[in-house]
């Protein structure tokens, strides 16, 4: 079966005409790979062609730009089973960088998990926080993100199947998984690829970090729109983050045995409402804000309420304390994107996330409460 991609919607279609926007799509030439092989690498069909992707934002080289790793480890996903059927237990996977990060957790380090789709600028935000801390606070830290494609201008993308981490201080570290891990979890992505339900193995990259959680950063790329008044492209990110938040809540609190006949997604959906909300703060950062002048003069909370209702509802549902903000860590120049020093919108929101001295106060109201006014 031929596969098509609508560049306007940034979505794959089964038909030459996009069912959503009605525009023409372009056919994707599939190489000699089966659907299962595509799924195993969790790369989109066009990425498997190794064609360089145009940068739509300013930050983060796409993970797909990187040469395919020589994979000293098995693929993070086993061969897909039939659509809709529970996936058989996958073999243990090796995630590069995870052992070292988990060793840090064993030392008592707490994790700040950065979640977001590929190319949203997660790694740049982590690194940008270090630069901002150095610039504004005089607190120097060197980069521990493993960025082999780093240049003077950009950091480069995280290699698929790899987690990066950035030590903040003796107590905190960012966990910066490749966007591919989140793609694997995307219900919409799996549906489009006809992949079966996720397994618990898909959460291996984040399971220990959730148990030693200090905070969650959700990175949303608002530049992924069709037009100035078309917000539909954000929906995909919202849905993905909705699932990720639910999964994080479920991973953090649900310690009960899971019936093998119930799929993980169903299990999360059924169980999560009975679990406590995430007890650590969640920061939603709208990245690449330098390209969003039409939004940045608005209050981020109001923007989220109005244009990101799914994400806002997810935060109200799954997180006790949360906030939204904009940030940009790079600017677009004539020669491409370049990191700026200091980045903007990273330091203060991150300090809100990490350094609230009165967080221990008892009986704190959730952000969604009418008194704080962070709900609907």
């Amino acid at each position: 079966m031929a596969l098509y991609k609508c560049d306007a919607c940034n979505a794959y279609r089964d038909d030459p005409i996009c069912e959503k926007c009605g525009r023409e799509t372009r056919e994707i030439q599939l190489p000699d790979t089966t659907l299962e092989e595509v799924a195993r690498g969790i790369v989109r069909p066009d990425e498997s062609l190794k064609s360089p992707l145009p940068r739509t934002g300013g930050e983060g080289q796409g993970e797909g730009d990187l040469p395919a790793p020589k994979a000293p480890h098995p693929s993070p996903l086993p061969a897909a089973a039939g659509r809709g059927e529970p996936e058989p237990p996958p073999a243990p996977v090796l995630i590069r960088g995870l052992d070292e990060f988990e060793a840090l957790l064993d030392r008592g380090t707490k994790a700040v998990i950065i979640c977001g789709d590929s190319k949203t600028g997660k790694s740049e935000i982590a690194y940008g926080f270090l630069r901002a801390q150095n610039h504004h606070r005089g607190q120097a830290q060197f980069m521990t993100l493993r960025a082999p494609s780093r240049t003077d201008q950009v950091l480069g993308g995280t290699v698929a199947g790899e987690v990066w981490f950035q030590v903040i201080d003796d107590k905190l570290a960012f966990l910066d998984p490749s966007g591919e891990f989140f793609k694997q979890l995307s219900p919409e992505g799996r549906r489009q690829l006809g992949l079966p339900d996720v397994t618990e193995e898909h959460f291996a990259f984040v399971r220990r970090a959730v148990a030693n959680l200090a905070g969650v950063v959700l990175v949303v790329d608002l530049t992924r729109v069709l037009g100035p008044n078309d917000f539909s492209a954000w929906k995909r990110q919202e849905d993905d983050l909705n699932f990720i938040l639910a999964a994080l809540r479920w991973l953090r609190w649900d310690k009960e045995a899971r019936p093998p006949r119930i799929g993980v997604s169903v299990n999360i959906a059924q169980r999560v409402s009975a679990l406590p909300r995430l007890d650590k703060p969640v920061l939603v950062l709208f990245s690449k804000a330098d390209q969003l002048p039409q939004y940045t003069n608005r209050v981020p909370l109001e923007l989220a309420r109005r244009h990101l209702p799914t994400l806002h509802g997810a935060l109200m549902t799954h997180a006790k304390r949360y906030r939204y903000d904009f940030c940009h860590t790079m600017i677009r120049t004539g020669q491409g994107d370049a990191a700026i020093d200091p980045p903007c919108g990273v330091l203060l929101p991150m300090e809100w996330l990490l350094h609230d001295p009165l967080r221990w106060l008892p009986l704190q109201l959730p952000t969604r409460s009418p008194i704080l006014g962070g709900g609907k």
């Binding site: 209050v299 330091l347 203060l348 009165l358």
Partner: protein, 556 residues
């Protein structure tokens, strides 16, 4: 580096948190002050406070502290060592006694004494000279030899003991008394182990009847000298004359310093009617105890018995002889250590008499003054009333002890002022113990114990509710000071819950803890409110724009 890259809520928030801390501290302090006051004497009724302010404090713990100001050296017994020279006797002996050359004087008197070994006047003149020269051993030999050589003394004493008209002005009687007294002085002064009990007891026996009559009748209750003087042979009565107190004094000292036993006289001496005085009760109790312990410490019991007799003649006054009173207090203390109930009044009277009379030999003034000071420290004597007499004794003391005496007087005034100061203190009133300087702190702690004892006795008669309040207030007054037995006993009349609460309510540490909790709670509530206000405001703030504006301004 740019300047203040901080969220816009930071300044007011930190200031408000600090202000909240100040409010919380103030709240805690107010809570502490209020709670402590509500459980102090200030919360008692006006009537109760007036009565508490008027309590008389008996010095017990303070007496222990005050005693420590003068060290714990043991007092010595004072011997009545005055042996006046006779005014009559063989002319050559009198002439020899006035020889200015000491060696020649001694040789001449020895020659005369050797020629007439049974001449009591010669022996008295010779012995007196030797005692004055400090040659007690030789004096003892001379005097003992003469008394061994004649029976005249015994016949005179026997006659005196049976006569109801004993004439102390009779030279023969006077000579015998002085001779025996001189022998006792010589023996006691050089610590002879062979005390001539016969001499000591017989002369007492000869003057006893007269002493009894004289002391009991002539001056009872009169503040005049009650001493019965015995002039030296041929001399007129003067202030230097021997007195019956001197004779009794040396007999008592002899008893206390040796181990006298007399199985024959024992029952006669200690068979007594039912005691009518506290001291008599003490003597009877000790006699009973001695009977049960095979007359252990019999010698000291004889001393106590004689003290009781002499004191008994003068009751309700006490013998007006400082030396006798000095030794009598020591004898009483020796026997009543730890069981002196009923004796303190008598003891205080004797001590007061010591200070008033002060009639001790010049060479005994140091010892007397130091001993009197120690006794004063452990007495309930009104020291203010003795201030003038104490000033006389002060001159006999070392500078260190003189300072202690000053502090004793100041402590007495402080003790009197303490109840009012504790219960109804006036604004800017100086602490009573302030004049005690560095000694004040320890003294004040002991004074609190003494006051607590008096207050507990007062509280024992109050209604249950007021009694509980009073106990809490007393415990609070005490603080870290030692609790008196009266307070412990009173507290035990309440149940354990009541006792526990009373202890907690009186303990300032408990209210500090409560105040800290209140302060913490106040701060928590305020901080909680502030944190949520800040969170609400931050939620509506674009920190991106804050940073953007700050970066737009460029480095400062």
């Amino acid at each position: 580096m740019t300047g203040s890259a901080h969220d816009p809520e930071r300044v007011w928030f930190l200031s408000a948190v600090l202000a909240a801390a100040l409010v919380a501290i103030a709240s805690g302090y107010g809570c502490y002050r209020y709670s402590v006051r509500q459980h102090s004497v200030a919360a008692l009724s006006d009537t109760a406070r007036a009565e508490l302010a008027g309590l008389t404090v008996t010095p017990r713990a303070t007496a222990r502290v005050e005693r420590s100001w003068i060290g714990d050296a043991k007092n010595e017994y004072l011997i009545a060592s005055n042996v006046p020279m006779p005014c009559m006797g063989p002319a050559e002996a009198l002439a020899a006694s006035e020889d200015p050359d000491p060696v020649a004087r001694t040789e001449r008197l020895e020659a005369i004494a050797d020629a007439a070994p049974d001449n009591m006047l010669v022996a008295l003149i010779h012995g007196t000279q030797l005692i004055e020269a400090g040659d007690y051993a030789r004096a003892e030999q001379v005097l003992q030899r003469t008394l061994d050589s004649t029976n005249a003394d015994e016949s005179i004493i026997s006659a005196a003991r049976t006569s109801t008209t004993l004439d102390l002005g009779n030279p023969e009687v006077s000579t015998v008394i002085h001779l025996h007294h001189a022998l006792a002085v010589a023996q006691l002064s050089h610590g002879s182990n062979n005390l001539s009990w016969k001499s000591l007891k017989n002369v007492i026996g000869s003057v006893k009847v007269l002493s009894n009559r004289r002391l009991a009748g002539a001056t009872r209750d009169q503040p005049v000298w009650s001493r019965l003087s015995i002039a030296a042979p041929g001399c007129p009565v003067s202030s230097d004359s021997l007195t019956t107190y001197d004779l009794y004094n040396n007999l008592i000292v002899g008893y206390m310093k040796s181990s006298f036993t007399d199985e024959n006289e024992r029952e006669k001496e200690f068979r007594r009617p039912r005691a009518s005085t506290p001291l008599g009760s003490v003597v009877n109790a000790q006699v009973q105890r001695a009977r049960e312990t095979n007359w252990q410490n019999e010698s000291q019991l004889w001393a106590l018995s004689n003290v009781e007799q002499v004191i008994g003649w003068r009751l309700p006054a006490v013998p007006d002889d400082a030396r006798f009173a000095f030794n009598a207090v020591q004898v009483i203390d020796w026997w009543t250590k730890g069981e002196g109930r009923g004796i303190p009044e008598l003891r205080d009277q004797l001590i007061e008499q010591m200070f008033r009379r002060r009639n001790v030999a010049p060479d005994q003034r140091d010892e007397f003054a130091r001993g009197a000071l120690r006794m004063l420290a452990s007495s309930g004597v009104n020291r203010q009333g003795l201030a003038n007499d104490a000033a006389q004794i002060r001159a006999w003391l070392s500078p260190q002890d003189a300072k202690a005496l000053d502090d004793f007087l100041a402590a007495d005034a402080a003790r009197s002022a303490l109840p009012k100061w504790l219960v109804a203190r006036e604004k800017d009133q100086e602490a009573p113990q302030a004049k005690l300087g560095p000694r004040g702190e320890a003294w004040y702690s002991a004074a609190l114990t003494d006051y607590a004892a008096a207050a507990s006795q007062w509280a024992a008669s109050r209604p249950a509710g007021e009694q509980r309040e009073a106990i809490v207030a007393i415990w609070q007054l005490l603080g870290r000071a030692e609790a008196p037995p009266e307070l412990i006993a009173l507290e035990k009349t309440h149940g354990w819950r009541s006792r526990t609460w009373m202890h907690l309510a009186s303990w300032k540490g408990f209210w500090i803890f409560i105040a800290a909790l209140v302060a913490a709670l106040v701060w928590l509530v305020l901080a909680w409110i502030l944190a949520h206000v800040r969170e609400r405001r931050l939620l509506r703030t674009s920190l991106y724009n804050v940073e953007y504006e700050m970066l737009s301004k460029g480095p400062r």
